[in-house]
Symmetry: none
Subunit: 229 residues, 4 copies
């Protein structure tokens, strides 16, 4: 028997998955089309046949895994919109971490690589897909800070929250890939339960946000007092 005749979409899909894995592991430049095709069990020309170019496959592969991971882990973390705002923040944080922590997706690696070392191919796509999710977090933070919070305070707090989410997961993945570090005792790695990290970040951040709120309210009060005199 020579070959199974597929419906033509099967190979395409295998290429997408293979590409995501290899790109995640090696990054765009160190990855060769041959790498991907071999893993997908396809010919070297398959990339160009199905996607036109390596560049394009890169974008398609990212979109593919990103969208799949978002479908699998809804960004609200399953928390009802009617829940207390603190719970909604916890939901968002946990959802993010479960999504990027899912060993089946290579979402985070590619994104991280691309942010650090932009090829210019993916930057725009990432922003378009990720920004809406980040904005949702901003809304929650705005609610926590109160209406009178300045834009800057909201953005700073958003940065604080997202940086912790991103940073912790990057560190976790990184440690997992090189678990043989001598004298390395990174609890973030051993802590398999993502939920614990999410809880920490939530606790830490709620306190941080409250502190920011108190500061500007205090400052505003002081301003008012001065004006009243």
């Amino acid at each position: 028997m020579k070959k199974q005749r597929t419906d033509g979409q099967e190979t395409r899909q295998r290429l997408l998955e293979a590409a995501a894995e290899v790109f995640a592991k090696k990054g765009f430049w160190e990855t060769t089309n041959a790498d991907i095709c071999k893993r997908a069990g396809a010919n070297t020309a398959a990339v160009n046949y199905h996607f036109g170019s390596k560049d394009n496959l890169y974008v398609e592969a990212w979109k593919y895994v990103f969208e799949r991971s978002v479908r699998k882990h809804p960004p609200d973390g399953g928390v009802s919109p009617d829940a207390p705002v603190e719970e909604r923040l916890r939901g968002r944080i946990l959802a993010f971490m479960q999504r990027v922590g899912d060993p089946e997706t290579s979402d985070l690696e590619i994104t991280h690589k691309e942010m650090a070392n932009p090829t210019g191919l993916l930057t725009e796509t990432i922003r378009k897909c990720v920004k809406p999710l980040d904005d949702k977090v901003s809304v929650v933070i705005q609610e926590l800070l109160g209406e009178s919070a300045s834009d800057m305070d909201v953005q700073f707090c958003q940065m604080s929250v997202l940086s912790q989410c991103f940073g912790s997961m990057v560190r976790r993945r990184h440690a997992k890939m090189a678990p043989d570090m001598p004298g390395e005792d990174d609890l973030l790695t051993n802590t398999i339960d993502v939920k614990m990290i999410a809880d920490h970040i939530t606790l830490f951040s709620l306190a941080g946000i409250r502190a920011v709120r108190e500061r500007f309210e205090m400052k505003r009060q002081a301003d008012n007092d001065r004006q009243q005199e």
Copy 2:
């Protein structure tokens, strides 16, 4: 006359600086020896002549700019070891941000790229150089949490602090490089004053750390009460 007789170390130095800049901008794989040599005004063979290989130059260049930036911006932020622990945390945070925010150094870019997309050449070196600094932060955090804090709490808090530092500066750099994003209004970029970001992170983190401390103290109290019964 053919050429100025340099002492032979000058070219070497120019190569280091050129390499750091180009590696920072393009990353290891997109950078070619020719790029570096042209910028350094040196011959194509100069890299291999002076450093043996591109790989080695990569490592040497990183060490060069890292050590220079550390000398320029002492990691304690100029805060005396006798100062209150909160101030020492603020000093550490500010020092980090001033160091990586220094436009003369390309420290952060290379490190970020390398962390996201390890070439395997630099990872070890970075860890060896950066870990001591991170450990110093851990010590401060340990002090803030109290002696009875668990290792995990310390590590979690350290992650929270460092992630914010790293994340905010990455975002800042990134936004600076592409300031023409449509509808982009990133205050982290416009905020030229690194000190404001450092202040925010300090405020946010001190509150976060305190919350973590309160939680485990409360839990311990509860445990004690239960045992006393």
Copy 3:
């Protein structure tokens, strides 16, 4: 319903016409099967299915357009065989130019390309088809030069006539395709009327042929005189 049931020859014909156009525009090597098939609204495999190979289609397409153009523009230019020999030459010249000047045929382009850059696929076919026409011109020229003309004189004059015909039309086509040449004022292009060019070539050539005849007659006379002595 999937598709109009064509009689299977329709696709073949569409391929021939598409091929002729594309080959004429891009030449054999820059033309891809995909180009042709897309233009013909056919499948990628259609070329090999209908013609066995790209090579063969190339030959078939040329024959197709050549024969069609010859049918459309009879090579005698509509001049009766009984007409004066000068008129018969004018007829031949005009017929050639009308044939290759016909915007519906891509005869000339392919032939020109093939003559300049023989693929080896078409040379023989072209010669077989074109030679008889050229020979007819030779006959007329022989008649103009008289029976005592040498083969060489006939061939030289034939070359002179055909070169003008070919050269003028090539130049005309070429100028038509790039009419935006700066400071280009080629009257051969603007002169839409092919007949004027044909008239010029006829006038020019009749005079040339007569001059050749006079020369060898004069020479022969001199030879005779010398022999008679």
Copy 4:
């Protein structure tokens, strides 16, 4: 011994000559860099090292052989500017034919291929180099036609002359390359002496030009007569 160290221009020159030969024989598209490099005794990467790209080498090679051939065969054919106008035309014609007939140059082949099948890389260069030479011919023809000749008459006659030159040489080269044509008896090939062809074209063309002149003078006379009435 490993290798002769050349001054770096030697290889470059060998590449130029090899390129001209191969491009002349096979045309741009059928020629591969490997072909050229093998013939030049250089590495596959040599083309890109010395010329940046195949495209660029193509242009450089053409310029190289064109300029060399023009230097070797001055376009006036060695005829003094004070010589009779007929002789100057003969000189131009002969010079052209000697130049492109020189077996050491591959000028004509490349030019012909490029005219028939423009790559778009060379067209402009050719025009810039060749046009001045063609213009010189126009000047001579203008002188032969007299001052009152129209632009169109000049251009038509120029076309007639140049087409014969070009056409005869193309046919000659072509026949030389395939001398085994069955039943082929092309005197243009066997006629090794280019001078005979040049003489024919000169004779033919001088008569043709005179005929053109007589026609428009006669026509003008007729117009004048009609006006006088």
